[in-house]
């Protein structure tokens, strides 16, 4: 304890980024050549190809004209396969967790951490490098899928995408990357916290399961208790809906699905009960697409929330890592 406090007071020497890119390059090389990565890639490419092929088939037969035809590739579904975005919301956390759950504790167990730190590399750079390498790998995979979807769309639909479609889907790609980033930072935190990789993996999966399955129900129940509808008034229902939405937004899954909806459905103007009430309001022109800037503003809190959550979770794992004793 005393040593740590002293270290805090000591004047720093050198940049914490020294050796960062070396770590990033090594880690990425590990990821990309690993068998784990191969399995994940095959899984995600197969789902992407399958869902988008079905979506394109669906669009070819049903949709005559749509200003945002390429966005429909991501959202259109055809039985028995769900839409591509649905798969992404499900698969991206799994990939992120699978890539990072043993980043730090794996090194501990293999007793390689002290050997790495014996090199002229700071701890900061090591953790930053590991996280950035994971994020870059995820970006690489997702970008490849994005390109695959657009290529298949071009081949199957035979029309070029419009500028706004490309812009919207690029924002969607960015949101997907940071959605993965949240789970990656969480898995990193657990891999720093728990010495056993299995425990870290289980903890990450548990959090993911909790948000996927239970949090929606819990938020609904909490909202009903906190803001009960006593007289059946519209205001009460609205208030309850607002509280329930605010609670579910603690889950990155909700944040990501709302960002996706706003970006891929340009005519979406509001979420939940407010959006439904909008249809009843006088003077509202429904179905008119919002400009991209307005769609972004609609989900800007969710979007920035995803990024901030990624950064904060990383900060937590950084602090935790810095405070650990590393002895081989």
């Amino acid at each position: 304890m005393a040593a740590k406090v002293e270290a805090g007071r000591l004047p720093r020497e050198g940049s914490p980024w020294t050796g960062l890119w070396a770590v990033v390059a090594k880690e990425m090389a590990d990821y990309l050549t690993g068998i784990r990565m191969l399995i994940l890639e095959v899984l995600i490419v197969l789902t992407a190809a399958g869902t988008v092929f079905m979506a394109a088939e669906n669009l070819r037969t049903t949709v005559g004209q749509d200003r945002f035809l390429f966005l429909r590739l991501f959202t259109a579904q055809r039985d028995p396969l769900p839409a591509f975005v649905g798969f992404l919301a499900f698969l991206v956390p799994l990939i992120a967790i699978a890539l990072t759950f043993d980043t730090v504790n794996g090194e501990f167990n293999r007793r390689t951490l002290s050997r790495v730190l014996a090199q002229p590399i700071y701890r900061d750079a090591l953790l930053f490098g590991k996280f950035l390498a994971g994020l870059f790998t995820l970006t690489l995979v997702l970008t490849a899928i994005w390109l695959l979807v657009f290529g298949m769309g071009l081949v199957r639909l035979g029309v070029p995408p419009g500028g706004e479609e490309v812009a919207r889907s690029l924002w969607f790609l960015l949101a997907t990357i940071f959605y993965g980033g949240v789970w990656m930072a969480l898995a990193l935190l657990f891999s720093v916290q728990f010495r056993q990789p299995a425990t870290a993996a289980l903890a990450s999966i548990a959090v993911w399961l909790f948000f996927t399955v239970f949090w929606g129900m819990i938020a609904q129940g909490l909202a009903q208790t906190l803001v009960p509808v006593r007289y059946g008034l519209l205001q009460e229902a609205l208030a309850q809906d607002q509280v329930a939405r605010a609670l579910t937004r603690l889950s990155p899954i909700t944040l990501y699905s709302e960002v996706t909806m706003a970006l891929l459905y340009p005519s979406l103007r509001a979420f939940g009960l407010v959006g439904m009430l909008l249809q009843l309001q006088e003077g509202v022109i429904l179905g008119a697409p919002l400009p991209l800037s307005q769609s972004l503003l609609l989900v800007w809190p969710q979007f920035t929330g995803l990024i901030a959550a990624t950064v904060l979770l990383f900060a937590a794992s950084y602090i935790s890592f810095q405070r650990q004793e590393i002895r081989a």
Partner: protein, 386 residues
């Protein structure tokens, strides 16, 4: 004896030679020619058939030639028998032979009584019979045009519809051309049975109801406009004077200086929009009141709220201040703006208002990320190990 033979030869040759010579009418031989209705009346161009009967008394059966005398050259006259054109009839004694005389009255003769004689000439007998045909001259077409209500009153946008009766008092069908002379700015059309017509056939002694429609195709000023309608059929013509009294009325339109009926506003922020209220009518619009029906929670006000007078053909500029509700959802809204003059119907224009949310929250989001990054920076400062 030789002399006797010579006399006999002379007698025989006399008898033989005398054969072809017309035999003199002998006492009691007669040919009778008569007609059942010898004096007839016909119209121009009509075909008249006279039934003639030939009767031979105390004479051998013979061929009787027929002829007509006393008719002008250009008349088409023919004898008919058994469906064919004939020149002669074979008549047996004490038996009537029928033949008909067909006369076609030419179109161009004057109305008069024409007399001629049919001559029947047989062998030694002949007969004549006078026939008479009175040709009634047709009345030339004479048109009359009458209207129940020759003076109509209405706004500049109304269609003035006059119900007219066109009558042909002549005995001949005629094609009537209808023409109208109207002041500039008026379009006159004729309708018969719902169809647009400019000429129509009217039978002899027939009358047809036509409707004369006059429509102003530009905004004509208030006033009295005479319309002359002429119906010409052949030589005859009829005319009538109609009057359209146009009363003035204001006609407002709402537009913007750049003709765009869409605009963008930010939530909770008041945005002014320039409007032009134009009076395209023929009378000034008085006390024009402006109103709008915005979505709930919005405020729309006009400066000025009321325009005392917009003269005809003039426009007035006003400012509309739109303030969407503070929590208005971004997107497109419909806003109906109405201008109602003191007397007369209102005019409305629909605006498409795109509500944009303020980028203030965007800045807040960036600040959130910045705080997160600052936390990392602080952690690096605080816990970094060099």
């Amino acid at each position: 004896m030789r002399r006797n033979w010579a006399v006999l030869f002379l007698l025989v040759s006399l008898i033989v030679l005398a054969g072809p010579f017309p035999v003199r009418a002998q006492e009691g031989q007669s040919l009778l020619l008569f007609c059942d209705y010898p004096a007839r009346v016909a119209e121009l161009g009509e075909t008249v058939t006279f039934n003639l009967t030939l009767r031979l008394t105390a004479a051998p059966p013979q061929t009787v030639y027929l002829d007509v005398k006393g008719l002008p050259e250009d008349w088409d006259v023919s004898f008919r028998g058994g469906g064919n054109v004939v020149r002669a009839v074979y008549v047996e004694p004490d038996k009537d032979a029928s033949v008909s005389l067909r006369v076609v009255v030419p179109e161009n003769v004057s109305g008069d009584t024409y007399r001629w004689t049919v001559i029947a000439r047989g062998e030694g007998v002949s007969a004549e019979f006078p026939l008479e045909l009175t040709v009634a001259a047709k009345l030339p077409p004479r048109l009359t045009l009458s209207v129940d209500l020759p003076t109509l009153r209405g706004a500049a946008t109304t269609t003035f519809r006059y119900d007219a009766t066109l009558k042909n008092e002549g005995d001949e069908e005629t094609t009537v051309n209808l023409q109208a002379t109207a002041p500039q700015g008026f379009l006159v059309s004729f309708k018969y049975l719902g169809q647009d017509v400019t000429s129509l056939p009217v039978g002899a002694n027939e009358s047809k109801r036509i409707s004369i429609e006059a429509r102003a195709y530009t905004q004509v000023p208030a006033g009295t406009y005479p319309i002359e309608v002429v119906a010409v059929g052949g030589e005859s013509q009829a005319s009538i004077s109609l009057v359209a009294e146009v009363t003035g009325q204001p006609d407002l339109t709402i537009r913007t200086p750049d003709e765009r009926l869409s605009t963008q506003v930010y939530t909770g922020r008041e945005t002014p929009i320039q409007l032009l209220v134009q009076n395209n009518g023929s009378a000034p619009a008085l006390n024009v009141e402006l109103s709008a029906s915005p979505p709930s929670g919005w405020s729309v006000r006009f400066a000025p709220e009321r325009i005392p007078e917009i003269p005809a053909g003039q426009q007035v500029e006003i400012t509309m201040h739109i303030k969407p509700a503070d929590k208005a959802v971004a997107g497109d809204y419909m806003l109906t703006v109405r201008a109602r003059p003191q007397d007369g119907g209102y005019e409305s224009a629909e605006f498409r208002i795109t509500v944009l949310t303020s980028t203030l929250w965007g800045v807040a989001g960036i600040a959130l990320i910045a705080i997160a990054v600052l936390v990392v920076a602080w952690a690096v400062m605080r816990f970094g190990r060099r």
